[in-house]
């Protein structure tokens, strides 16, 4: 895990990020505190080798309220929405929904797309690839 500074002042961080956390729980419909950090999601995630922080760490940081750390990761954009995490979770927490909620909160706040059309691959793709990528990565 590479982040600068190992200390979180929990009182300040929770106070500051309370509304974002509420929004994330609302959009996803998931209870972040149901997770007991067993790591099943990470163990099953197909994209984990490409990620900078692990899927279970994303939800851990949400539990701690550390939004800055989560927003600046590559992890949330590498999610492939394959639902493996949600299917395997023993507590029934659907991490794919939480990832989507974090992405949406960022896209809506910043009103900026994660990818631009020019950056996309210039070869003949099946429509579903193009459209789903655009739906996931644009505001």
């Amino acid at each position: 895990m590479k982040w600068e500074g190992g200390c979180i002042n929990l009182r300040l961080v929770l106070k500051k990020n309370k509304h974002i956390l509420q929004k994330i729980e609302e959009i996803s419909g998931e209870n972040v505190f149901a997770c007991y950090q067993c790591g099943m999601c990470t163990a099953g995630c197909p994209m984990v080798s490409e990620m900078d922080i692990l899927p279970n760490q994303v939800i851990r940081l949400l539990q701690l309220g550390a939004m800055e750390e989560v927003i600046n990761t590559r992890t949330i954009w590498l999610c492939a929405s394959c639902y493996t995490c949600g299917a395997k979770c023993p507590k029934g927490v659907n991490l794919s929904r939480l990832m989507e909620a974090i992405r949406l909160v960022i896209l809506r706040e910043q009103n900026q797309d994660y990818v631009r059309l020019e950056e996309m691959v210039k070869e003949s793709l099946p429509q579903i690839a193009l459209i789903s990528a655009l739906r996931k990565f644009t505001a």
Partner: protein, 267 residues
């Protein structure tokens, strides 16, 4: 057998035409009556996981509404992504009647969607037909061809819409066995291929698919079959990307399961 209404989806009419052609021929050979929906639109490709983004559900609901107007209460899809998107959207409005009302109000010029449709995938219908009947119609048995049956994600997950057990599915293997092939042990059959990352960062997909195909090859597979057009693209067309990263990689053939079926049934 009663008539089944069929939702093709955009990709099946273009890049995945072989899937549709072979599937319809197979259906005919098995005595299934498939009729394409008179009016359909793109389903939206991916189910939006947000609870409050109702606009993104419209595409799917509009299509389900079209099915409702035809008078059928079941619709069949061939594309795994369409299946997943339509099923999840359907489930969403079935569970939350308030949101359904909001959506109905928005598309106020059409009749209300009553959320009484069931979305089915072609594989479920084939399972109902039964392997016995399929065996009867086989003309060119596949003589023990070693096939790796790749499911991908969207047919099996989330659990509420999955067509088979998400850890150990057997529906494709049973089908291939009925055709005379020999499905191999393939533990990576439910691993994600990388999906839409292929449009943005194809190297990720290449690395992912490399592991999947190598696993198939280790288990002595001669052919990989799949059901989803995106998986097909990622597994097949990205093999050239894999060759760039892992030069010693040898290509392995990839087909739609319906193409194999149509070959075996001689249609």
């Amino acid at each position: 057998m009663k008539e089944m209404i069929y939702f093709p989806g955009c990709t099946l009419k273009t890049t995945a035409k072989p899937l549709e052609d072979s599937a319809l021929k197979v259906a005919e050979a098995l005595g299934m009556k498939i009729k394409e929906m008179p009016q359909w639109y793109c389903c939206g490709t991916v189910y939006s996981l947000a609870q409050d983004d109702l606009i993104k559900q419209l595409a799917s609901i509009r299509n389900l509404l079209q099915v409702q107007t035809t008078g059928h209460n079941e619709v069949m899809t061939l594309c795994a992504m369409c299946y997943n998107t339509l099923s999840q959207a359907n489930l969403f409005v079935k569970k939350d009647k308030e949101k359904l009302q909001k959506i109905n109000q928005f598309i106020s010029e059409q009749p209300d969607y009553k959320a009484e449709i069931e979305v089915k995938h072609f594989l479920t219908l084939l399972k109902k037909v039964g392997t016995e009947k399929i065996k009867e119609v086989v003309k060119n048995g596949l003589s023990g061809l070693r096939i790796a049956c790749y499911y991908g994600c969207l047919l099996l997950r989330p659990k509420e819409v999955g067509i088979d057990n998400y850890e150990q599915p057997t529906i494709l293997e049973e089908l291939m066995e009925a055709l005379g092939a020999k499905p191999v042990y393939f533990p990576y059959k439910t691993e994600c291929c990388g999906s839409y990352h292929t449009a943005v960062k194809p190297e990720i997909v290449a690395r992912r698919v490399y592991h999947i195909l190598e696993n198939a090859r280790e288990n002595r597979a001669e052919l990989v079959v799949t059901s989803c057009p995106l998986c097909y693209f990622n597994l097949k067309d990205r093999q050239k990307n894999i060759k760039k990263i892992y030069p010693e990689f040898k290509k392995i053939p990839v087909r739609y399961f319906t193409e194999i079926m149509s070959q075996a049934l001689g249609v």
